[in-house]
Amino acid sequence: MEKMSKEQLKKFLLEKELFIITNESSAKEILFDLKIKTEEDGFLTDIQTGEPVISNDDEELSIKKFGALLPGSRVFVKKNIAGYSQYLFEHE
């Protein structure tokens, strides 16, 4: 098993399309870098506006229900396959 050098890692991370697959803890960390805070009750807040994060079914989103933040949008999708399908057809 070869080890990945820094150069290889850099090249890999420059791929045009990437998916970061997360668990709840790492999702919190990544979302925080995107200026989305996970409140104590689990609901997500936009740090810049102070407004709750709304998913594409127009409901406030909690970290437990976070499904995806998909390429090409800031549309939050719950763990709901119909919500993902809606995103796909809106962006086709």
């Binding site: 991370l13 990437l18 079914d57 995806a68 763990k79 119909a82 993902y84």
Partner: protein, 317 residues
């Protein structure tokens, strides 16, 4: 550190399964890593990016998998160990317009990724009836409802009721009553019959523009969904007398919208026979407006639509 690249060149392979195999982790171990489940690697193999220590209360460091769908490569590690310049790039790309972005990065929950991966494969398979009508449907929400309903039906047909029900619930939660109704109708096979018996000939009509097809299909679907029990799509096995009897009953009950749709000479013959048996005097006395319409396009495909509506207006639900 991200020191264990896993290159998977065959896109048919399940990347996540390969990562689990490599790290000797069970699905539960990765999926429940938030719950700090214990995992012990005992073979002295390559040190994984997942941080594991021996003992009763072993801890797994929060783990991410980064997947490049184009090359099929994936790496596994901790988000905090990623180079800061990459993190910055990810952060910035969410604020940029598509034309300005150098990369497209999606962030997907571990469990949910499995589901969207399977749904993507269903979309790519393009072997079901829905793919004939969806390109003509203009409303993206209706497209999404139809396609997701097709996915639910596939699960029910394969006797996977649990997943089928979950998808059906997802449609209801995302799109409300209309979504749930369409999904139910599709799973029960009613929309399949509508597509085969009536919409398919319209789609195949070379004389009709795509815009006309789209308008007609969307109108038919929307009205049929609202008043499904009062809409008849005629096929070879339809019984004209029975349909006429049912329509007469609906008129007595003053149903707001009743329709018969038929395509092709044989089906239209059956539809007209049903129409002849309806007592038009009673229909008019009840305040209905009757609109039989037979169209023949340049491509010789004959379409018959009979719409019976109260006060001449299609009611809004």
């Amino acid at each position: 550190m991200f020191e264990a690249p896993i290159a998977i060149k065959d896109p048919k392979l399940n990347v996540k399964s390969r990562i689990r195999d490599f790290f000797r982790l069970s699905k539960t171990d990765i999926d429940n890593s938030d719950k700090r489940k214990a995992v012990l690697l005992d073979d002295g193999g390559p040190k994984p990016a997942v941080q594991i220590s021996a003992g009763d209360n072993c801890e797994i460091k929060p783990t991410i998998i980064i997947l490049a769908p184009r090359t099929g490569e994936a790496i596994c590690g901790s988000y905090s160990d990623l180079p800061p310049e990459f993190k910055k790039l990810v952060t910035e790309q969410f604020d940029k317009l598509p034309a300005e972005r150098k990369q497209d990065v999606g962030i997907v929950d571990n469990d949910f990724y499995d589901r969207i991966d399977e749904f993507n494969k269903f979309i790519d398979s393009k072997d079901n009836l829905l793919d004939k009508i969806i390109p003509f449907v203009k409303d993206p929400d209706l497209k999404a409802i139809l396609k997701t309903s097709g996915f639910a039906k596939k699960k029910f047909d394969a006797a996977d009721r649990t997943t089928g029900q979950q998808i059906k619930d997802d449609v209801g939660n995302q799109f409300g009553k209309t979504g749930r109704r369409i999904c139910n109708l599709y799973i029960r096979g009613y929309l399949t019959s509508m597509i085969k018996d009536y919409l398919e000939p319209i789609i195949n009509d070379v004389a009709m523009s795509d815009n006309e097809k789209g308008n007609k299909i969307t109108t038919i679907i929307n009205n049929s969904i609202k008043f499904w029990e009062n809409v008849y799509f005629i096929h070879g096995g339809s019984n004209s007398s029975k349909i006429a009897e049912e329509i007469s009953h609906l008129i007595k009950k003053e149903a707001p919208y009743i329709a018969i749709h038929a395509a092709g000479p044989e089906n239209i013959n059956l539809a007209e026979k049903a129409f002849e048996q309806i007592d038009l005097n009673t229909v008019k006395e009840k305040g209905y407006f009757v609109s039989p319409n037979k169209e023949q396009s340049n491509s010789k495909i004959l379409i018959f639509d009979l719409i019976i509506v109260k006060d001449g207006k299609v009611p809004i639900c």
